[in-house]
């Protein structure tokens, strides 16, 4: 029983990170209708920038994370403005090729600047706490709480503000959005900024319990794709629920099946769900 509780807690931690990454991916997919393969590279950049801010500039963890959000958000905006906008009239395949190109570029860039070594990020919240038989580091608790706060803020932004609603509107009907006077270009840039910011938050939160290295985004982005396919491409609640479902299945699978097969579980889950419900769990009715 205690093991189960401990694993449930761990799964909340991983699930939170997955959900944050998947949210950024699904937002961009909703607007652009292309899978942004470079999203994992943005996640990686987020990790490195936070780390550099802390080690080279001696910034506090939160300040470093804030800088990272701004920088990766800006990278997102630049990608929209100078890559994807120019490809808007081109066949969809070109977007995908461009995304892979950006991914390769950013990884090579990270390796050039920071080297290929695995680096550790020391969190100020490393202390171990025991509550009701559960043992965990403060960092893990922090991941869960921060992720939930970010998701609530994002939800309020999308639901309660006109600017946020314009993102949803554009994902439902691009032409409808421009007919009511929404500036499509601004919304696209804003969406990329939020997407990059979310990746930076996820990476900054997860790095202290993982490692920072140029390929750190690979597995995360693959799983994020599994999540948004699970949850229905472009669906926001789908990305959140999908993230936690994946977190739970991985943790439980690692405990009760084998730790070695942990990463396979995501893909087995993908195969099963696509067999049973090919449109995804939360897919929109009409498309």
């Amino acid at each position: 029983m205690e093991i189960l509780l401990q694993q449930l807690f761990n799964s909340l931690t991983i699930g939170s990170v997955y959900s944050l990454v998947a949210l950024g991916l699904t937002l961009v997919y909703g607007i652009l209708h292309i899978p942004n393969f470079a999203h994992g590279a943005l996640y990686m950049m987020g990790g490195y920038i936070t780390l550099t801010m802390m080690t080279a500039f001696g910034f506090n963890y939160w300040v470093a994370m804030f800088v990272s959000i701004l920088v990766v958000g800006l990278i997102g905006v630049l990608l929209e403005r100078f890559v994807f906008r120019l490809l808007r009239e081109a066949p969809p395949l070109h977007d995908k090729i461009a995304a892979i190109g950006i991914l390769l570029f950013l990884e090579a860039f990270a390796q050039f600047v920071w080297g290929a070594d695995f680096q550790t990020m020391t969190s100020p919240y490393g202390q171990v706490v025991t509550i009701m038989g559960l043992t965990f580091t403060m960092q893990r608790l922090l991941i869960i709480v921060s992720a939930i706060v970010v998701m609530i803020l994002l939800y309020l932004f999308l639901k309660k503000t006109f600017t946020g609603a314009s993102i949803i509107a554009m994902s439902q009907s691009r032409e409808g959005a421009s007919l009511v006077g929404i500036n499509i270009n601004k919304v696209a840039m804003l969406t990329f900024m939020i997407s990059g910011g979310l990746a930076a938050i996820a990476a900054s939160l997860a790095s202290p319990i993982n490692l920072v290295f140029p390929g750190m985004g690979h597995l995360v982005i693959l799983k994020a794709f599994v999540i948004i396919i699970l949850g229905g491409m472009g669906s926001i609640p789908g990305a959140i629920v999908g993230g936690y479902i994946l977190g739970f299945s991985e943790s439980l699978g690692a405990t009760y099946i084998s730790n070695d097969y942990k990463d396979i579980i995501a893909f087995v889950l993908l195969v099963i769900i696509l067999t049973v419900k090919p449109t995804g769990l939360f897919a929109k009715g009409e498309r």
Binding site: F162, G176, S178, L179, V180, K284, E286
Partner: protein, 235 residues
Amino acid sequence: MLKLTDVSVNYGSFTAIKHVNIEVTEGEIVVLLGANGAGKSTTFRAISGINKLDNGEIYFQNRAIGGRAPDKNVQAGIVQCAEGRKLFPQMTVQENLRMGAYVHRRKKTEIKHSLENVYELFPILKEKHHHDAGSLSGGQQQMLAIGRALMSKPKLLMLDEPSVGLAPLIVEQMFQVIEEINREGITLLLAEQNANAALSIADKGYVFENGEIVVQGTANELLANDDVRKAYIGA
């Protein structure tokens, strides 16, 4: 108020409209007639700024607006209720209407007022304000599309085939509403295939054929024109 001079739009090598000249005076209802693919929608899209011009110029209140971004045109008061409605299907009726007021997003009381006006015009929308737009019937969706366009307080409202696919009784209501909107001081540009109903409320009209205007005149002149009667009224 609105003037198109010698406007042409190409889709690749295909010319959708060529050398179109249209003039709309403030307060009028002007109707564009013509079969599917004759160029009515392309004309609307050019005025809205969704399509770029390949020739000619468009003037709105004596300012050249050809090629200007669609959101700028909505701010200036040119609003289009497009064919296919282009609603936000997973948003509720009320959310759709609020999005219509996007250009006035900072004026909360004004939005509330406009919302009340639209609900007065279309009581059914108030009844269904919590339903998803995608769940409405065709007629209700059309009302919502017009309502959403009104939320931006247009000076010039363009309605692209508002009666298409609707039951005859609803069509009649729709034209009554269109007249009512016009009485409130909004200039209307209407694309229609239902020539009889459209000309009965319009001041003047233009007939499109293969991207060109072939006949133009006052509503009465067009109703009396034999070619127009044969082609579009069937009498």
